[in-house]
Amino acid sequence: MTGLAVVLHQFRFDQKVFWRNPAAVFFTAALPLIFLFMLATLFANNEISGLNVKGATYYVPAIISLAVISATTVKLATNLPAEREAGQLKRVRGTPLPPAAFVAGRVGNSLVISVIMVALVSVIGALVYGVTIPTHTMPAMLVTVAVGAFCFSCLGFALAAVIPTAEAAPAVTNATVLPLYFLSGVFIPQNEIPDGVLNFADAFPIRHFFEAMFTAWDPNTTGAGFEWGHLGIVAAWGLFGLVVAVRFFRWEPRR
């Protein structure tokens, strides 16, 4: 097979494996929707002061950010150490499948799940909570999703590279992302969060990804809604993740 054909071949099987695993589908696809229903229902009509939007309009981009990170960083950083420990990565490494094709299949898998989740959250936001789907800022939203999915996939490989065992993987991953969801305004509206905390969250990529996503959904946005500054910081984190992954990723179980 040629390079692209083998990537598509690998991607097809990654998709099959994902949709057949009920636990994976629940944590990656269903859990973000449960958060959406909870948060958007509880705070549907609360005005988010300072931003001049309703709660539902705030939480749709927030949960889209969470869903993309779940489909990329969280999924990769929990699955890959388990597959490494089971000897599956070592076995694949012994075949002619180029490592880059394996990685591309996984990133493609995460990207497609991300896009499906973005579509689901957007449609539910529009139909159930009357949130307006972006029109003139749609290109900005799609670019934000693409940049985020790539960069948070790189960070997933980086985390998988430094996490030693399958047992540690969910704990380390959740201990990394969950506090940042709270501090970055994904769970709690940012007007409730002290400035000092937001400044701390600004050191990490989740806050910047969410800010770029929020601008694309904010009805008060006047221009095209591209947040190049925030996206640049997300991209820098992705590049950092790529370097860590290339340097430290291992295919064989540790003994």
């Binding site: 071949h9 057949r20 695993n21 012994g94 002619p96 003994r255």
Partner: protein, 309 residues
């Protein structure tokens, strides 16, 4: 040598200050089933992982299919198949799908259905691999190693943990690889497995090759032809055995094993001794020594330091 598939000279590998492999030589020729035996910690897995290209070495020359496995590339991996010691299958796929997935990695794969049939999984081809027994999963593992139609297969302890009937089925599959013209490098610590399958055997102990040859030649070379076994009669100590035989006897947990060149005088001596004392010789058997006896004799030569594997 034109038909040499694996050629190893003076291979060395150390972990920190522990020398796991202390300069070994191996030759495996095309079309043979070669069994690599040794106790845990003898350097067996280290050697195999070097041959498979997973581990760098500290010294020596290694050529596998004419390529140094340290510089293994995609075309080399197209010619080699692996069954690793420990590898869980993907539980969400069926055997047919798992084989299809691996078929896509190779330049000239075998037919998927043929390969599933070859390992005896035709009637399980469309159930999830999580529903297969341990023996069936291992046979699927062999199918995954075979699908690329490799010239050389590495099978690392392919039947560890199997019940006897699953082992027989796996042996049938591995024996069948010979008919396909494959070269097989088999790692095992079951002597009967090596005896049943292998054309040639190498035994490694404490990082050194202690014997190579056909299973029959090792048995011939290692020990005198006839083996007499019995349990020590109740109330009789090993030191009370007839002096002429005591030197040839090994006593292990009350089981006496003696290897003798000529069984007739030895048996006469033994039965006379037993008759005089009025004791029996429970479980008395007279037969040929097995590869296991040779193996135990060769690998038990008092080497203390064992590496964790």
């Amino acid at each position: 040598m034109a038909d040499s598939v694996i050629s190893v000279q003076g291979l060395r590998k150390s972990y920190d200050d522990f020398e796991a492999v202390k300069g070994i030589d191996l030759e495996v020729t095309a079309g043979e089933i070669f069994a690599f035996l040794g106790p845990n910690g003898a350097g067996k897995t280290t050697t195999v992982e070097i041959l498979e290209g997973y581990r760098p070495r500290n010294g020596g020359e290694v050529s596998v299919l004419g390529v140094d496995p340290q510089r293994a590339d995609r075309s080399w991996r197209n010619r080699v198949g692996f069954v690793l010691q420990e590898c869980r299958l993907v539980p969400e796929l069926t055997p047919r799908e798992a084989v299809e997935q691996y078929a896509g990695y190779y330049a000239h794969p075998r037919d998927v259905d043929d390969t599933v049939n070859l390992v005896g999984l035709a009637d399980k081809a469309d159930v999830r691999t999580s529903k297969l027994s341990g023996g069936q999963q291992r046979r699927l593992d062999v199918a995954l190693a075979l699908i690329g139609d490799p010239e050389l297969l590495f099978l690392d302890e392919p039947t560890t943990g199997f019940d006897p009937s699953a082992r027989r089925q796996a042996w049938d599959v591995i024996g069948g690889l010979r008919d396909l013209g494959k070269t097989v490098f088999l790692t095992t610590h079951y002597m009967d497995e090596a005896q049943a399958l292998a054309d040639r055997v190498a035994i490694i102990a404490s990082g050194r090759i202690v014997a190579t040859g056909s299973p029959e030649s090792l048995v011939d070379r290692g020990l005198p032809q006839t083996e007499i076994r019995f349990r020590l009669p109740q109330g009789v100590a090993a030191s009370e055995l007839p002096a002429a035989l005591a030197t040839a006897a090994r006593v292990d947990a009350g089981l006496v094993t003696m290897n003798v060149a000529d069984p007739v005088p030895a048996l006469r001596e033994l039965t006379t001794w037993a008759g005089d004392r009025g004791v029996g010789l429970p479980g008395l058997t007279v037969g040929s020594p097995s590869l296991e006896d040779v193996y135990l004799q060769l690998t038990e030569r008092g080497d203390g330091a064992e590496a964790p594997e």
